[in-house]
Symmetry: D2
Subunit: 299 residues, 4 copies
Amino acid sequence: MLTKRTDLALEACELWRESAESMTRLPGVRSRERKSDGYPVTRVEILDERGEEALGRPVGTYVTVDLRTYWKRGADYFPRAVRAAGRALKAMLPESENASALVVGLGNADMTPDSVGPSAVRHALVTRHLLASMPRQFAGFRPVAAFCPGVLGSTGVETAEAVRGLVERVRPSAVIAIDALAARRRSRLCAALQLSDTGILPGSGVGNHRAALNRETLGVPVLAVGVPTVVDAVTLAADLLEERGQDIDEAALRDGHDGLTVTTFDIDAQVKELARVVGYCVNWALQDLEVDDISALLA
Amino acid sequence: MLTKRTDLALEACELWRESAESMTRLPGVRSRERKSDGYPVTRVEILDERGEEALGRPVGTYVTVDLRTYWKRGADYFPRAVRAAGRALKAMLPESENASALVVGLGNADMTPDSVGPSAVRHALVTRHLLASMPRQFAGFRPVAAFCPGVLGSTGVETAEAVRGLVERVRPSAVIAIDALAARRRSRLCAALQLSDTGILPGSGVGNHRAALNRETLGVPVLAVGVPTVVDAVTLAADLLEERGQDIDEAALRDGHDGLTVTTFDIDAQVKELARVVGYCVNWALQDLEVDDISALLA
Amino acid sequence: MLTKRTDLALEACELWRESAESMTRLPGVRSRERKSDGYPVTRVEILDERGEEALGRPVGTYVTVDLRTYWKRGADYFPRAVRAAGRALKAMLPESENASALVVGLGNADMTPDSVGPSAVRHALVTRHLLASMPRQFAGFRPVAAFCPGVLGSTGVETAEAVRGLVERVRPSAVIAIDALAARRRSRLCAALQLSDTGILPGSGVGNHRAALNRETLGVPVLAVGVPTVVDAVTLAADLLEERGQDIDEAALRDGHDGLTVTTFDIDAQVKELARVVGYCVNWALQDLEVDDISALLA
Amino acid sequence: MLTKRTDLALEACELWRESAESMTRLPGVRSRERKSDGYPVTRVEILDERGEEALGRPVGTYVTVDLRTYWKRGADYFPRAVRAAGRALKAMLPESENASALVVGLGNADMTPDSVGPSAVRHALVTRHLLASMPRQFAGFRPVAAFCPGVLGSTGVETAEAVRGLVERVRPSAVIAIDALAARRRSRLCAALQLSDTGILPGSGVGNHRAALNRETLGVPVLAVGVPTVVDAVTLAADLLEERGQDIDEAALRDGHDGLTVTTFDIDAQVKELARVVGYCVNWALQDLEVDDISALLA
């Protein structure tokens, strides 16, 4: 069913609904939409095996923040986006006040659409070493470490293997993994964030560089922050046609297709901006700080 | 007619033919295909006003080197590509042995798909100052200067204005302008070079940053080396559909379209490689040097 | 006399005084020190030929802002530095309200200590094209263009030649040229700014890439903003010895010296920060804007 | 005794000799000089505790390749340097034919003089994943993985801790750690390589970011490749004075010194070049390949 490639659970829902003959309710899935700081936020919960099967991803919570209006740069668009995403991420974190975190930037820093993870990590407030050396002064912070494992082609080591090695030494309460995703809808390209508590699954993403990063493989909860920065060319074509009410034979469209994955031509600027939103959102969720405080600390 | 946006004269020909009701010959245009160092090379000559009108670009010669097989990395793929493109460029240069040149890298260095011009210039052999200070030692070289004018948004100055300012001081025999282009066919995305003797025209290109750079505005012949690094999303969709024999209503497709321009997700690597081909091709055409010589001089 | 290489007029004064046998007043020179936004500011005026001869540079005003305390990051260190330098620059600008400016970033962007000019230009508010296209909306701004001419080795064109070409087309009321300088005192390395109304002179600077950029060569007033990012190794050695009251034979020290020029090991961070101060200082001097306004416009 | 800071064992020897009152032989140390591919190579062996105490570093072998003539770019200067350093490194590697290696680039990629480790790693032939997926095709290669752990300030994790985590998962036969060093002699700045079999010790290096990386902490042999890219300013001053036969009171010189560490102003170009030598030298030592083969594989 999921012939239209997407890494967003929300889009998987949409596809299910489009393909459903009747208006049957999607079984084992609960979905709810609201606004958060002005941005539409959709929460998809996969509740059981029926939901897993229907949407092709594991039980858990998937929150999508719709950032289409972000690019119109309305009032406070940046701090509102940070809070909207940060609030969703915070709700997924372990509750303990002194819970520690390891922030992992997945992807290839030399490949712009795949670099949003490493770029976001540059905005992360790293505190673990400060708490170790000056525990009294930094008592108000949670210990945070950060890591960019690189990609298999450059390191010879599976990302999951490298992260596991570090997790065993750092022993964080949770891992927050940031990665680039593939969207289905053109309108979500560089205009949405997905936050989930199920970690990262193999076989998706921009560079396909990922084995599973989740509680099973790492031994701690893994929260994922995903940024859709690419779209499959055929999916994009189908999407453009559907928007205009044209019937298409997507199987034919996909036939013989060489898997061209595309991104927007101004991807450098978009990744730069979204990495900042994600980095700040992680800081907002982990520490008790507002956006201006974070800016001051990162200066 | 040219609703499918393309900066390639070859594709304008193809579109004309597709739209022509009968198999009439394209008036005022001569086109010829051959192989050069293993790469297919198509030479389109627009001979008069009929050709100008049909193809929407001025009288002149447009040579397209098809680099699809480049990425299969067959034997000598790099030097063969340099020679195939260099040969076409050389044929357009003023014949005088001590003709000088100004190589101009157009586009935005901070925007990967638009950065192929500035990146190519980094591979140009710049000799003008050496000939000025050591004329005897460098007697075998043509004087070459290089310049990256930046983009209007960063400089406040039209590219053509900035180039004209420099041309008036440097007084080269010819300008060679390198720029990113928009292709129509997905198969030409990052897999072709266009060399022409008509300069650069406004309203096309990746960043739309260009006023005319041609003999009229600069006072010297302007050769253009164009690299298709982007494609219009609707054009891409239409192209994918046509490849599979599906009829589409392209006007409907384009209706309400917000002009999303896309590029391939591995654009960083492609631009890096193509900039090297173009830089070497310019050196090959200007100086009497083989690829290994150029490598040694650039080390 | 000026065997200790320095590009700072203030240091030329100090050297003159150190070498003077009696406490005679430096003829043809007036110097005054005060505080500006908490930073010590020294204004050296070379009044006539006697001053020119004594200090080895032309008649004009040279203001040095001492930024040593900047790196202690006291309250408001950044906006105070911007205003202290901006105030000095503003006083040198043509008074006309709609005076236009061309901001020129000199130096080699690929060589960290020499890249402060090009880096500063990235923070410049470029408005010329906006005023051209939307004169009513941007009526409150002065027209500003920006330009990085590159270096002779990369372009084959003398910097002054390239700037002259652009000045002739853009016709600004003044040029503001930003460049890296050589200091004599270790304590001024990356901890001072020099603003002068005499332009840029050949034979100094980090990369020695400069012919004169001044009113004679460009036809408009040229203000210079210099950032000392390097020091001559022998000068540094002599300086360290003098600080500790040791007598040295500097001629012997310099004898056979191969001209090693050094910079601080954290030059990347220092250039990044100083480029931001300089960029903002130029905006502050040219437009009627405070630091927060500039930040908002550059976001 | 070692008041003149140096990370080079060879310089520690020189300092001992300079300070020795009589021409006594340095106890517990053996040193030998020869030429290798045209470059002077000095091998210092610290044999026992007397040597450890005298030179302030552990028992082991320290080979310095003198690259002063490298920058004159004589015939084959690059492949000769690769072989001279590679030969010394190869002699320190475990002999087993299928010994695997983890190449670690230490230091801060954002700080030019400290970035030689991460830069060198970009030239490393990474094969571990290829051997895992295509063991037959790549049978002739040793498995090599690569890793850049970043610096404490950016990751919150001690370098040694991060490397240990990866070593435990990858289980290489040896670690090769590349790092920037501090030299004493100006003439060794960016003009020498040190190869040793004792790993990396705390308290030295450019960024002081290192805890010990050695067989004790990592459980496998650790070879170190060090590149002197900085020098202490006072050490530099003393060195310049001594070269000219001036007596100095170095204690006075050092008194109140704020620890300014300097590097050459063209450090970007030097690090770029030396990183390439080191990367190739590691490949040469690990795989049975000549320089041209390595170039072909890295293209």
